[in-house]
């Protein structure tokens, strides 16, 4: 049986999710043993245009990082989709727009003015959007960056023609398994653990840092209840909303 062909691509992003794959140091040889990595610009010494690499091979599995920000991003994403059986969004940018989309409430011109002091479009970019706004996404691995354990589980399951079973519950549960003092309740800090998808092992709250929601909202996030609770603690609703939009601008946030 020939090994499945894999491509790992990055759109507009910090490349942190691709790095997370490279950081699976102990398992890299196993990964390379199990799959045939046909394109992974970040890990290649011999550089060949991504477009050319795509011409050469069709992929069984394409992992795509980053948000769609430019026309090139969109073109490349569609090309990847046409050339792969399965398309996996890796990281919160690819799945939700992530940090790049956090100020999608402002027009680009206004943002250029704030950042560059002029209104000119230097890059030809649009409001950052997640992959699923453009193509069919078969599966998403969340996180900023993605979790090593989830990458490995996704690889092995997908190789087995199965989808990985990942947590569907909030970070709070994992936080309690780690026996942390509740930041939200006991320290009155705006911690997003209760509305954020678990899978990170509650890493931030376990280090005393409130959850910022980098893994995106959990299904059935009870945001009205969080609003109510934060109001009781004296936080303005706008703060809560801004915080909730940091990573997942496009998520539905009821008023």
């Amino acid at each position: 049986m020939s090994k499945p062909k894999i491509g790992i691509f990055g759109l507009t992003s910090c490349a942190g999710d691709q790095l997370a794959i490279l950081n699976c140091e102990d398992e890299l040889l196993d990964i390379v043993g199990a799959v045939d990595i046909k394109s992974f610009i970040m890990a290649q010494s011999e550089l060949k245009a991504v477009q050319d690499q795509m011409e050469d091979s069709r992929f069984d599995l394409a992992l795509v990082e980053g948000a769609v920000v430019t026309d090139e991003d969109e073109k490349m994403l569609k090309k990847i989709r046409d050339n792969t059986k399965l398309l996996i969004a890796i990281g919160t940018c690819a799945a939700w727009g992530g940090i790049p989309a956090s100020r999608n409430d402002l027009e680009r011109e206004e943002l250029y003015q704030i950042v560059y002091g002029r209104r000119e479009d230097l890059f030809g970019c649009h409001k950052p959007r997640p992959l699923r706004d453009f193509v069919q996404v078969d599966f998403s691995l969340l996180g900023c960056p993605i979790e090593k354990e989830e990458i490995l589980r996704a690889f092995s399951s997908l190789l087995h023609e199965d989808v990985p079973v990942l947590p569907t519950f909030p970070v709070c549960f994992e936080c309690k398994l780690n026996e942390n003092l509740c930041i939200f309740k006991e320290k009155d800090d705006l911690c997003h653990g209760s509305v954020t998808l678990a899978g990170c092992g509650a890493r931030c709250p376990s280090h005393g840092v409130p959850c910022r929601g980098c893994r995106g909202p959990v299904d059935e996030a009870n945001i009205p209840s969080v609003y109510h609770l934060m109001k009781e603690k004296g936080y303005p609703v706008a703060d809560v909303e801004r915080a909730l939009r940091t990573f997942t601008y496009n998520a539905e946030i009821p008023q």
Binding site: V165, P170, C172, S194
Partner: protein, 361 residues
């Protein structure tokens, strides 16, 4: 001091009680390492106590309030490997099964009751060997505690224990009154007999005073009489809808509950796609897909039905099954719920009693 000298001074009815000076307790705990690994409550961060291995007995907090997780984590870990599997050979026991003897110090009466409830759950026709292998190797040194505003063990009948421990300590002035519950407990005392002294009449007097004082300290009362019947009658109550709007479905209450036991089982495949592990982890009935079957139908789609289910399972259905509620009144769910859901208030409301709503804290 040898064994016979010690017992020689005692009248027979006092054979199973001793006194240890508070100053001697750490020495005693240190000496227990001869029997196994010693665990006890330590302060993880301000106000958060956890059971942890006492690598340094000085870290133990003798008067710790409730720990974040109950002792169930030592019998039924948050996550464990049930089997290793291979597509060629099927399922076999994993190699690393911890068999070591553990001594758990400072277990409060509610938690001792919690363990005996879990015993019932994991026993029965389908005995859970992992749980009982660890249970057989767990020595319990109980500790009498003083209630705070979240304890309602008094109402649940779990404020006191007569069994389920090897030793049980009750604070006197500068010492602890030690009840020896088992032969094993006596072995522990005997091994460091010089740290203990026989009880005196003054000790007994003081002990009785302490117990009486403690009984008066329980401010929370939950009326249990007819509660299952009332809950059944109030199945359609608006209270559940309200709780459903409040609840964050985070499962914190289940994680910290001494008697919540439900679990999820899943397989993790290795990269070779041939071998892997079957894993069991704690689950919570508050999670959205807890009752969702393959194909998509969800028997408890609405959050309010899940909150209600948890209350009913604790207070009604467990009574049907095992003759008492599975709640032990430890107050952990009240302490940990980020949405401020307070079980005591819920029951008062259901019973039609007046509830003074406090803020989320």
């Amino acid at each position: 001091m040898g064994h016979s000298e010690l017992t020689g001074e005692l009248i027979p009815r006092h054979l199973n009680v001793r006194v240890i000076a508070k100053d001697n307790l750490e020495t005693f705990l240190g000496g227990l390492r001869e029997f196994g690994e010693v665990f006890g409550p330590v302060e993880k961060e301000r106000g958060a106590y956890i059971y942890a291995q006492l690598t340094d007995v000085k870290n133990v907090v003798q008067d710790a309030q409730r720990t974040v997780l109950p002792p169930k984590k030592y019998l039924y870990p948050q996550k464990e490997e049930l089997f290793r599997f291979s597509t060629q050979e099927g399922y076999r026991k994993p190699e690393s099964v911890d068999k070591g003897r553990k001594i758990l110090f400072g277990v409060h009466p509610c938690d001792i009751h919690g363990l005996s409830i879990l015993d019932k759950v994991f026993a029965g026709r389908y005995h859970e060997p992992r749980y009982f292998d660890r249970r057989d190797n767990l020595i319990i040194i109980g500790m009498n505690c003083l209630p705070d505003e979240r304890c309602f063990c008094y109402s649940m009948g779990t404020d006191w224990v007569e069994k389920g421990f090897d030793l049980f300590l009750t604070e006197l002035e500068d010492s602890y009154f030690v009840k020896i519950g088992t032969s094993c407990g006596e072995d522990l005392v005997h091994a460091q007999a010089e740290l203990f002294r026989p009880v005196t009449d003054e000790d007994i007097q003081l002990y009785k005073e302490r117990v009486n004082e403690r009984n008066k300290m329980f401010v929370n009362r939950v009326e249990l009489a007819n509660l299952p019947q009332i809950l059944e009658l109030e199945y359609e109550s608006e209270v559940w809808e309200e709780l459903g709007r409040k609840c964050l479905s985070c499962g914190a209450c289940s994680a910290v509950c001494p008697t919540c036991y439900c679990y999820e089982v899943y397989d993790v495949l290795d990269l070779n796609v041939e071998t892997g592990s079957r894993i069991r982890r704690w689950d919570a009935c508050l999670f959205k897909d807890f009752a969702k079957v393959a194909g998509g139908h969800n028997f408890r789609e609405e959050r309010s039905t899940r909150v209600k289910h948890r209350f009913y399972h604790k207070q009604v259905t467990f009574v049907e099954e095992f003759g008492r509620p599975s709640c032990v009144g430890c107050g952990r769910c009240v302490t940990q719920c980020p949405a401020g859901i307070n079980l005591i208030d819920v029951f008062k409301e259901i019973r039609g009693e007046k509830v003074v709503h406090k803020s989320a804290r």
